[in-house]
Structure formats: structure tokens, C-alpha cells
Symmetry: C2
Amino acid sequence: MKPFRIAIAGLGTVGAGVVETLQTNAELITARAGRPIEIAAICDRDQDSDRGVDLSGYEWAGDAHGLCDMDGLDAIVELIGGSEGIAYDLAKAALGKGVSIVTANKALLAHHGLELAALAEKNGAKLGYEAAVAGGIPIIKALREGLAGNEISCIYGILNGTCNYILTEMRETGADFDDVLKEAQEKGYAEADPSFDVDGVDTAHKLCLLTSLAFGVKPDFKALSTKGIREITIADIKAAGGFGCKIKLLGIAKRQGGKISQSVEPCLVPVESALGGVEDSYNAVFVEGNFVEKVLMTGRGAGRKPTASAVVADIIDLAKGLDEPVFGVRTDKLAEPVWADTGDIKSRYYIRDGESTQITGEMGQGELEALTDKLDSPYTMRVEDL
Amino acid sequence: MKPFRIAIAGLGTVGAGVVETLQTNAELITARAGRPIEIAAICDRDQDSDRGVDLSGYEWAGDAHGLCDMDGLDAIVELIGGSEGIAYDLAKAALGKGVSIVTANKALLAHHGLELAALAEKNGAKLGYEAAVAGGIPIIKALREGLAGNEISCIYGILNGTCNYILTEMRETGADFDDVLKEAQEKGYAEADPSFDVDGVDTAHKLCLLTSLAFGVKPDFKALSTKGIREITIADIKAAGGFGCKIKLLGIAKRQGGKISQSVEPCLVPVESALGGVEDSYNAVFVEGNFVEKVLMTGRGAGRKPTASAVVADIIDLAKGLDEPVFGVRTDKLAEPVWADTGDIKSRYYIRDGESTQITGEMGQGELEALTDKLDSPYTMRVEDL
């Protein structure tokens, strides 16, 4: 069989992991894809670093843009990152020329997913992004195909391993946010600039893709309200424990009566609930559909190997000729989302004010504000009874 | 777009659920499949019962065999059940004529999967069986596609909802196996003849399909050692709790050094482990791969709606023209499995002898036998530290 020829643009952690996967599991990948996967070119500004994988057999491309014009290339694996700049230009150019893209780049897709999907459709190219959400967990495929018979009513995701690691460490060691973050940075679990992770932006990028897939609407990153975990104190974590809960940074998307809400925020979830047991850097996605009922998928949400697993799954799908609409339905069938008025959504709330903490009964945003207006320095989190 | 025309053979619980799904979610299913799914015929010996779904618009076929010769039929949804008889004859005849089959029938595939897969390949037909394993959980798709880049090292599954329900009830109520089984039968959670469930046969059917998919080997139901849950006493359940464990009926498949072991047996698993939290009639599959690391999928493993969800996912895949090898690779690429000598596999064991219970250190089967030979009436279970 004719090999499926790819170029890999970006040889950081994940890029090197993809090469390692394709080398290590070459035989079984060939059998499952029905044809060999051939790395026709690799590309990175840094051609010298030791990445723990043998790159000697591959041709280095001078610059990423040139890859679009390589003869006989079936797909470009974009692992450069960032929502703008090279990654965006490369994806646009490749898809415009009918060359498929596989990417782990959630920022790119959250900002430009609709445009890129339309471009792919127009030019007969494909756009795979399993690795962009929840690392090794095949959640894109599950939503787009495995659960395709369902009207999805809600998704709850622990989508950022760094945040889950920090919150788990805080609970287990009693250390403050700042100390745990610093330690995580030293260990390489958190970036030098951690704001994408701890401020919820990364989770928001991922959630807006899940919202689109689950509900068949255009992805809309701007419509997402995002709150991170910086303000969470040890006192909150202990109080949550006293209420039988843990604190998790959740991406939540729900549909009720045709209206959709999506938010990223730290929430209290019962220790015994589906997401209460998801610890350390693990990710998890909980989905409810009108026929499948409740499904939970848990696994490694980041890291060289798990992310490479998802990238390679996409490559194999493309090599087999799989032709799936990027967001589950053709872009011209994606609806404009109708957003719910978040003030209408009732919830129980955790409130900390100075030394005192409480969990309220079910109330809307208005009631909550009336309550917290009377307090000195209130910090609130939603309680999600999964 | 031309509709995808199916016939549904067998209108029991799942068959009626499939009709209900296709009716209830018609609009979104059409969008996701890219074309309407049309029920061209239905077939069941009983044409009179109220199934809680409107069948008035469909054509009744006189007998299932005739469906193979219907003009312009794209797929037959076989929901008759049983490994032999009508289900087998129908699948063989349909695939032989190039008509695709979607089925929830694990017994059929465990016994005849290889033959049917080869027949499908030869005649350009497809064979979908997502619903045959773990109900609504898209585990077939996950193993075949989502984790396709991995060499899988092990699978642990809670694959039978009836057994998990019985074991959970026993633990929670302190009632004996026989009493809980009787109650489950009265509630309709267990069959009048429960042996397929409680003796592990149903789990074995499912496991042999997962083994094939995960390891790229021919499915071999006969090579499976199977032990059910009838002998488990309340004393075992209490003792397990004392050891920090719960008892779960597991389907286990492992590969080490090229050799595969597969077994169905009740095991002790730590309460805090991935499978320890899977209760009631929920199913779960835990998979470890050399890149994805650990993935856990949990959901409803049976019932009208969750099973229908999986059947409809397969129908949508076929309507989209998806062409996946039945067992992950083409049948001529499936290897003959090399079975591990189970005596070599080391494990910790739970041993009950009269009133006394213990958990041993790690040992092989020979050592265990030497130990239990000295006891009066030993009952043993493996301890699986997931």
C-alpha cells in the first residue's frame, strides 16, 4: 500500500513524542492504518537539541510554510502552538491547498476553528484535533462519533492537568497556591508563565471545542466566562472537605430549552461523585446524553506520550481515509448558539467571607448577589452535584 | 442526500430503543450522518405488543431472512440475539450479499466473529458491534480508533451490569447472593435464566472481542477461563471490605512478552482504585497503552437506551461510509494468539477457608495450589491492584 506521508512541524515535547510513537509502534500502526505512515519531513527552528528520539533518518524542512508545497504530502502535523502566527498561517495555507492538518493546538481551534473547518471542507482536506482536548482521552471521537446518536444535555470536564495537580497537592500537603505553583514550575508540571493554565484560559479553549461538538453550534470562545484558581485558599479546600467536597476547575457546558451555557470556574464537587475521584494531573470528561445517559472518560490530559497517542490516532484515521466533519456536522449546518442568561441558572453556592464559610440553598445569580452584597470580602464557588 | 436505509430485525428492548432513538433525535442524527436514516422495514415474530414507540409508519417484513433480498437496503440491524439460529444465519446471508450488519450480539461475534468479519471484507460489507460490549460506552471505537497508536498491555473490564448490581446490592444490604438475585429477577434486572450473566459467560463473550481488538489477534472464546459469582458469600464481601477492597467480576486481558492471557473471574480491587468506584449496574473498561498510559471509560452497560445509543452510533458511522476493519486490522493480518501459561502469572490471592480469610503475598498458581491443598474447603480470588 502507498504510504501516508506526513510532515511534522514543531518538535517540542509532543512533536518528539509523535515521532517516538510512530517509531516504537510502527508495525501495529501500519496494520491498523492499512498502510505505512511515513515521516516525509520534520521542521523546527532548533535542529540540534537531543529530544530523546532518533531523528537522523528524516529530512529537515527549512521553514514550516514550505511544507505546504511539498510534493505528495498527505498531512501536516502542526505542533508549533499558539493561536496566531506561524501555526495559524501554516494551517490556513495547508488547508487552502487541500493538505490535511492534524494538530494539538486548542488555542488555534478555539479562535479560528470555524474558519479552518470551512477551509478544510471547501478544499477536501481534513482537520484532526483529538490531541487538543484532554490529551490521550479520545473525547473528540466519542462526542463526534461514539455518542452521535444522542442529544447531549451537559458536559463537565476537568481539562487542565496543571490545575488539577495544584488543587490535589494543596489538599494533600496543606501548602498554599503560590508554593505549590512554584514547586510545579520547578518540576516542569507548570509553565514559567502559568496564566493560561491557572487562569482557566486553556480549559476555556478546550471547552469551547467540546461545546461546539456536543451541541452542533459554532465554536465561540468569546462567549465563555472564565475564572481561574488563583484565589483559592487552603481554607477553601479544607472547608470544601468539611462539606464532603473537593474543589475542581471545571469546564461546564449545558443545554436547556435550546439555550446553551458554557463556563470555566472552580467548583465544589462531592468527593464521591464521578469527578471527585479524578486527582493529580488526570483529566476527565463527564457527558450526559438522552440515550447513553452518563458516560465518564478519565485519563492523562497532557504530557509527551498521552498527547502523542491522540495525535497518532488522528493520523491513522486520516490514513484510513476517514472523513468526519470537524465539529460533528458540516460547517453550514452548525447553528448560531443561543446563550442562556446565566442569571437564570440556579445553583447551590459555597461562600467564604473572612473566617466563615457556608453552602447556600439553590438560588439564582441575583439572589446570590443580594446575599454577598452584605458581606465584607466574599469569595464564591458553585457547588456542582454531578 | 440519499437516505441510508436500514431494516431492524428483532424488536425487543433494544430494537424498540433503536427506533425510539432514531425518531427522537432524527434531526441531529441526520445532520451528523450527513443524510437521513430511513427505517425501510422492521421484523419480529410479535407484531402486536405495545413497545412504547410508534411503529405504525413502518413496513413489517414477514421473516428476517427475506430482509437480505430487500431492494436498496444498506444495512440490517440484527437485534434477535443468540450465537446460532436466525441471528447467525441472517448475518451470514446478509454479509454474503454485501449488506452490512449492525448488531448488539456479543454471543454471535464471540463464536463467529472471525468468519463474519472475513465475509464482510470479502463482500464489501461492514459489521458494526459497538453495542455488543459495555452498552453505551464507545469502547470498540476507542480501542479500534481512538487508541490505535498504542500497544495495549492490559484491559480490565466490568462488563456485566447484572453481576455488578448483585455484588453492589450484597455489599450494601448484607443480603445473600440468592436473595439479591431473586430480587433482581423480580425487578427485571436479571434474566429468568441468569446463568449467562452470573456464571461469567456474557462477560467472556465481550472480553474475547476486546482481546482481539486490543492485541490484533483472532478472537478465541474457547481459550477463555471463566468463573462466575455464585460462590461469593456475604462473608467474602465483608472480608474484602476489611482488606480495603470490593469484589468485582472482571474480564481481564493482558499481554506480556508477546503472550496473552484472558480470564473472567471475580477479583478483589482496592476501594480507591479506578474500578473500585464503579457501582450498581454501571460498566467500566480500564485500558493501559504504551503511550496513552491509563484510560478509564465508565457508563451504562446495558438497558434499552444506552444500548440503542451504541447501535445508532454504528448506523451513523455506516451512513457516513466509515470503513473500519472489524477487529481493528484486516482479518488476514490478525495473528494467532499465543496464550500465556496462567501458572506463570503471579498475583496476590484472597483465600477463604471456613471462617478464616487472608490475603497472600504474590505467588504463582503452583504456590497457591500447594497452599490451598492443605485447607478444608478453600475459595480463592485474585487481588488486582489496578
